[in-house]
């Protein structure tokens, strides 16, 4: 299949785009990566995702697919040969989808909320909430992994991708707030999983460098703070 058959509109800091990179790597799919400048979105992005105007967008045979988890499932179904991203049993698939929804609908907004929290008390509450969510996910990891390396067992799968894409941003929140979120003695399973995830062959080369991500986050959040300060005058 020609490389240009599969295009990914992404942005290097985006954890959602990272999900798609990993899924494509799991299936060993050749693809063209188009880096978007999120401050100056391309015509292709605006046309391909008119509803949200966001990355990632997968373009396969000129047809755009949006929303990272919809894209990951699409990849699993369109390239149906092994390795699978979702398990084959309907109940196991439901459990995987449940946890991915929890990560997107509850946990990620909490992580995002840390940067938005104003004042020391609000920050602490936001960070505590992220940690509480990780405790829930630690229990989920125990049940799903059944003693193996990943949520999906021996190989990276759906929930691993859904959560693992945020590890760089967890590091950013830890450094910026001088705290630990992925606390080894409270979340031993997740702590070990995080290391294995980052080292995995499908992840290693596409995961952004954590310190570059931190620099990027510092730049964005400083700019935002300046904007808020000037608009409050």
């Amino acid at each position: 299949m020609a490389t240009s058959d599969v295009k990914l509109l992404g942005a290097w800091p985006s954890p959602f785009a990272l999900r798609v990179h990993i899924a494509l790597n799991i299936k060993s799919i050749d693809y063209e990566c188009l880096e978007e400048n999120l401050l100056a979105k391309s015509q292709l992005l605006l046309q391909s995702n008119p509803v949200h105007k966001k990355v990632p967008v997968l373009i396969h045979h000129d047809k755009p697919i949006c929303e990272s988890l919809a894209i990951v499932q699409y990849i699993d179904e369109a390239w149906s040969s092994a390795p699978s991203i979702l398990p084959s049993d309907p109940y196991d698939r439901a459990v995987a989808r449940f946890w991915a929804a929890y990560i997107d609908d509850k946990w990620f907004p909490w992580l995002n909320g840390v940067a938005n929290a104003q004042g020391a008390e609000a920050k602490k509450a936001a960070l505590d909430q992220v940690r509480e969510g990780l405790v829930v996910l630690e229990e989920a990891f125990g049940k799903c992994s059944k003693g193996k390396d990943f949520f999906s067992g021996d190989r990276i799968g759906y929930v691993d991708i859904a959560l693992g894409c945020f590890l760089g941003w967890v590091y950013v929140a830890e450094k910026r707030n001088d705290v630990k979120l992925l606390v080894e003695d409270k979340m031993p399973g997740l702590a070990a999983w995080a290391n294995k995830f980052c080292e995995d062959g499908t992840v290693k080369d596409v995961m952004p460098d954590k310190d570059e991500l931190l620099e990027f986050a510092n730049m964005i959040l400083e700019a935002r703070a300046k904007l808020n300060a000037s608009s409050n005058n």
């Binding site: 509803v51 919809a70 109940y91 989808r97 449940f98």
Partner: protein, 225 residues
């Protein structure tokens, strides 16, 4: 497939009704266990400890919460009358629109219902923008699923009945037949389908429920310092 199927739900919930519709469409027998959401049962807390919400499908001894997750489980377990199309691209589209409809259309309508004055106007504008996308998606089609109803029809199926009650109680008009002719036509047809109609709660039950919700929201905001 001889295991028992239970649905833990509330008849007032637009999320729970989707699950019933899906099971009926597939000809699956189930027991409906009514949950009092002001006084949650030990069963609900056991089967959905993370969110403590309805609906929960219990198949044998396996609990599945989250309505969209349940719909996909039902589709994969009982193969008659498929909800999702076969083609991966069409499936991705259905999943995209389902997420959009829940996050923007339903949430938008709810925000507009709750709000007052200028906030209400803003919330309605935003919700109506999202309805415009749904209008485009249904244009020229009998169902969101094509010739037969499918996944997305069940997901937005709250619109014909629930939205009209929210409109009445919340003092707002959203599903304007002139602005959204295709969506309006789909809604009128959908609610008449027997298996759809038989699962919806009586209108006065919903009206009373949303009136009570509306009053408590108003008194909460009146009591704010």
């Amino acid at each position: 497939m001889g295991e028992e199927v239970k649905v833990i739900g509330s008849i007032k919930s637009g999320f729970c009704v989707r699950v019933e519709w899906a099971l009926k469409l597939k000809g699956v027998e189930y027991e409906y266990i009514k949950e009092d959401l002001r006084n949650k049962s030990p069963m609900l807390l056991k089967y959905n400890p993370v969110h403590k919400k309805v609906p929960v499908l219990v198949h044998g001894d396996k609990p599945i919460p989250e309505s969209l997750v349940i719909l996909e489980y039902i589709d994969e377990t009982w193969k008659d009358n498929p909800l999702l199309p076969e083609d991966p691209y069409e499936r991705a589209m259905a999943r995209f629109w389902a997420k959009y409809a829940d996050e923007k259309c339903m949430f938008g309508a709810w925000e507009a219902f709750k709000a007052e004055g200028e906030e209400k106007e803003k919330a309605m504008e935003s919700a109506l923008e999202s309805f415009a996308f749904l209008e485009k998606a249904i244009k020229g089609k009998k169902f969101f699923g094509g010739e037969k109803m499918g996944f997305l029809d069940l997901v937005v199926g709250w619109i014909p009945h629930w939205l009209s009650v929210l409109e009445e109680v919340g003092g707002m008009k959203m599903l304007d037949a002139e602005k959204f002719p295709s969506l309006h036509e789909w809604a009128e047809n959908f609610i008449q389908i027997p298996l759809i109609k038989e699962c919806i709660p009586p209108r006065d039950v919903l009206v009373n429920h949303f009136h009570a919700t509306f009053s408590s929201l108003r008194s909460l905001s009146a009591n704010k310092p």
